[in-house]
């Protein structure tokens, strides 16, 4: 096969709490290919949030190597990391993180603004992305005028509008009821079927069951790496 999308080699992350050094990741080696659908599971404190932050280039490893889409990410500065996040990664958060004063379309446009895309193209692509999550009729609604499921779909449209190589979702159904959760997970299934690489962080087994591969972390190490289906 070609180069993997994600390649982690012996990645460690230590946090300093005063004089004490708290290890969050104790050497993670991992390879994820394009169009995989991976769930990362583990109890709280297992290091799954830290792993997700590093995968999302929101944080950098203390040691080890991280190659994303063929590019070495470990030594990059803030501005370079920001550009990688903008180009390669689409984030979906548990609490949606939409700008409350902006409309759905403006929220979706935001990553394109930072990518320097001209206004007219920004609008067109934002509208397409919203249509792809069945929100074509909610372009001018503000987040407080939308339901929880709709908000999360706006956030997914925002994550996809840059056509990232990786969709990274952190507990995307944590704030949703079971019916809406099912809707969102069905959407992820569809995106994956269309070729999108998806990484999902969750502690719910039935959410993780949608993935084709389940990584379980414990004490900063990968405890198990199962492929299902």
């Amino acid at each position: 096969m070609t180069t993997p999308l994600i390649e982690l080699v012996e990645v460690r992350k230590d946090y300093r709490l005063g004089a004490a050094v708290v290890p969050a990741l104790r050497g993670v080696t991992l390879r994820i290919d394009r169009n995989e659908y991976v769930a990362i599971m583990g109890p709280s404190g297992s290091g799954k949030s830290t792993l997700m932050n590093i995968l999302g280039c929101l944080d950098t490893p203390s040691s080890g190597r991280y190659r994303l889409n063929g590019q070495d990410v470990a030594g990059l500065d803030d501005a370079a990391l920001a550009r990688i996040r903008n180009r390669e990664i689409g984030f979906v958060f548990q609490s949606f993180h939409l700008l409350p004063r902006a409309t759905a379309r403006e929220n979706v446009e935001l990553p394109l603004v930072y990518a320097g895309v001209p206004r007219a193209e920004r609008r067109r692509r934002a509208e397409e992305a919203l249509a792809a999550v069945d929100l074509a009729d909610r372009l001018h609604h503000r987040p407080n005028e939308l339901s929880g499921g709709q908000r999360q779909r706006v956030a997914i449209a925002r994550a996809l509008v840059t056509r990232p190589s990786l969709l990274l979702a952190d507990e995307p159904t944590g704030n949703l009821d079971s019916h809406t959760s099912a809707e969102i997970l069905a959407l992820f299934d569809r995106l994956h079927a269309d070729g999108q690489t998806v990484i999902l962080v969750t502690h719910e087994p039935d959410v993780a069951a949608h993935a084709h591969r389940i990584l379980t972390l414990r004490d900063g190490r990968i405890e198990s790496d199962r492929r299902c289906r």
Binding site: N86, A102, V113, Y114
Partner: protein, 413 residues
Amino acid sequence: MPLGATLAEAWRALRAQPLRTFFLLLATAVGVTFLVAVVSLVEGMDRYVRDVFGREIYGINTVIVRRRPSIDVDNDEVRRRAYARRPRLREDDAAYVQAKLETPAVVATMFDDAAEVRGPRGRRAGNVWASGVSASYFRVQQMELAQGRFFSEAEAARGEALAVLGRDVAEALFPDGGALGARVHLDGVPYRVVGVLAPRGSLFGLSLDRAIYVPARSPFGRLRRPQGTVDAILVQAAGPEWLSAVRWEVESWMRLRHRLRPNEPNDFELETADEALAFWGRIANVLRLALPALVAISLLVGGVVILNLMLVTVVERTQEIGLRKALGATPRAIVQQFLAEAMLVGLLGGLVGVGLGLGLAALVRAVSPLPAAVAPWSLALGVALSSAVGLASGVLPARRAAALAPVEALRYE
């Protein structure tokens, strides 16, 4: 990040929190308001003083001889006594200078005193400036008549009891008109009105029209100045090109007249409009520099207010900043966003201040005798300073925002 999007974002942030925006704008608007208003007043005063000093008081191309300076700033006792020892100026000094002058010029004399003027039917005008003048005085001061005539050299020489009234006095004594040829009493002596002056306006709130002019040698003059002394000798050059020659000649003849030896200082003052204006110019320059300096202090305070509000904003928007970073905002884009907001605040505050300043200047002009002339440079300066203050105040908060770690910021509640 495109500039348009940055500004649109800043504008949206300002609209989202109207109360906060109000205080942000107020921070610089107050300083700019006073800058514009104060500069307008100084400029207005400047124009007014030049106008009034140049035309009304000194007269054009005129050298004025006085016993003591008309503007004396360090008013100390020693100097005052020295002035008091100087010889008084007399009408025959004026005649002497007139006779000796070789440069083409007109010589006039004047003295004035407060007096009461009575008209028919018991009407009276108190606190009038009554001036005993030579006939040439009207010409030197470029006075204009509304009706009648001035008195002639011959009439003045004979000391005839003729009077030219200022507009206010004429209206007070003859509300229905008919002043010409009528009789008024000055110091109890009857005078015949031969002319009424055109209105001349006021100086520092004192009306120049509350005046009466009579020949220096008429009964009023013989009563008030029995020795034939005068307050001022005015010598008007025939044109601006003669002014310095006239000044030099007048000084020389007066020194000769007072028998001063070459090493002795003048025992009289020579004044021209330009010299008085130079004095005012110094005051105006101090005001032009000092007042904006005070305004600058208030802008500095405004800057601190903006700085603080923006720092609070950074904390309030921590999560939003984290999100923007996650979506690909570079530190530079975050800095730009906050700087744009701070500068927009300064710019808008400056514009509001300019508006309020113009209003304040107009208000002062309307309710007080102080004039106000808007100086365009003060408007530009106000907006520029205010924008600069906004921008400068935004630097620290912007940097703090840009330095936030995205992980921490996203997790911040």
